[in-house]
């Protein structure tokens, strides 16, 4: 039901977000065409489940990433590729208006560190969505990085658990960072220019159970840390 509601509003909501990011906030993404081409290739190459894992530095990362990965027209034609998100409820669903907005934007609000039952329920919903070939965006570090860098040791095992719960799931790592983003913040600065990369993570674990979930989560975070290093190497 939420998906159909989002789909109905998407011809208005998605372009509006794009306009806000590009023309109101003045953001630009270097290599935008390449980002979108690669995402299209990944999505069209194979119909299977896809989970996007990204670094997390600002409160609007999920919007910027969705904007970087596809045009409104692309999302309109391939709505399943507009990623589901799990934003923090206290920030993004604090008022009825915001709750309606995030509901329309394929978001499943969750209280981080809240009731285990609730968190598990949301993860189960997300797993179900990915299993049905809907794309989801997850931040393996769970929250915005306090150091401004990806730390594989802080990866939450939930992402590994979702991966293990979806057979043949492909994990797409997205590293995106604004030129002025030294550490975490609420918003990127106005006129920010983002650079980054997108790549598929090859994952394999010999562990079982919880250890396997943690291992997978750390592998994903390590891939993001490598992409981060490449980002800084390129800037030097």
């Amino acid at each position: 039901m939420q998906r159909e509601f989002s789909r109905l509003l998407s011809p208005i909501a998605i372009p509006l977000i794009g306009i806000a990011l590009r023309w109101v906030l003045g953001y630009r993404i270097e290599g935008l065409r390449d980002f979108r081409r690669e995402y299209r290739r990944i999505c069209l190459e194979q119909d299977g489940p896809v989970m996007i894992c990204a670094n997390h530095l600002t409160m609007i990362d999920s919007f910027v990433i969705a904007w970087a990965l596809g045009s409104p027209w692309w999302y309109f034609r391939h709505f399943r590729t507009l990623p589901w998100n799990i934003p923090e409820r206290s920030i993004f669903a604090a008022t009825p208006y915001m709750r309606l907005l995030v509901y329309a934007l394929k978001c499943l609000p969750v209280e981080r560190g809240g009731s285990r039952t609730e968190v598990t329920g949301v993860l189960a919903q997300l797993t179900h969505a990915i299993s049905n070939c809907e794309v989801a965006l997850i931040f393996p570090e769970a929250g915005r990085s306090r150091t401004g860098r990806v730390d594989p040791d802080t990866a939450a095992s939930g992402v590994g658990r979702i991966y293990r719960g979806v057979p043949n799931c492909r994990v797409v790592c997205v590293y995106l960072r604004g030129d002025h983003q030294d550490d975490y913040s609420d918003m990127p600065v106005r006129g920010e220019r983002f650079r980054g990369a997108i790549s598929i993570a090859e994952l394999k674990t010999d562990y079982r159970g919880l250890r396997a979930s943690r291992d997978i989560a750390r592998q994903i975070a390590r891939r993001l840390a490598e992409m981060e290093q490449e980002y800084f190497d390129d800037r030097e």
Binding site: R112, G113, S115, R116, T117, V119, T120, A142, T154, A155, A156, S157, R161, R164, R208, G209, L210, R211, S213, R214
Partner: protein, 82 residues
């Protein structure tokens, strides 16, 4: 193994992850691991994996969701030890 012994071991394992030393001093089976002891939720899995090593048991993903209080952890471990 006695329940009290499991409880003591559980508290010892939790100690390095606890941010509220005050809550740790008055720890009881009803103490909430995340809310009272202020253990980072992302670190809960590390705690549970330490339970696995310390008690030589295997805990499923789903079982972690049942661990909210120190008492829950003790009961889970007790059940696994058999």
């Amino acid at each position: 193994m006695e329940k009290s012994e499991i409880f003591e071991k559980v508290v010892k394992i939790l100690t390095p992850y606890v941010k509220s030393q005050e809550a740790l001093e008055g720890v009881s089976p009803e103490t909430h691991i995340l809310d009272d002891l202020k253990v980072n939720s992302a670190r809960l899995v590390d705690v549970v994996l330490e339970f696995e090593d310390a008690f030589d048991i295997e805990i499923d993903d789903d079982d972690v969701d049942k661990v909210e209080t120190v008492g829950n952890a003790v009961e889970l471990i007790e059940a696994k030890i058999g």
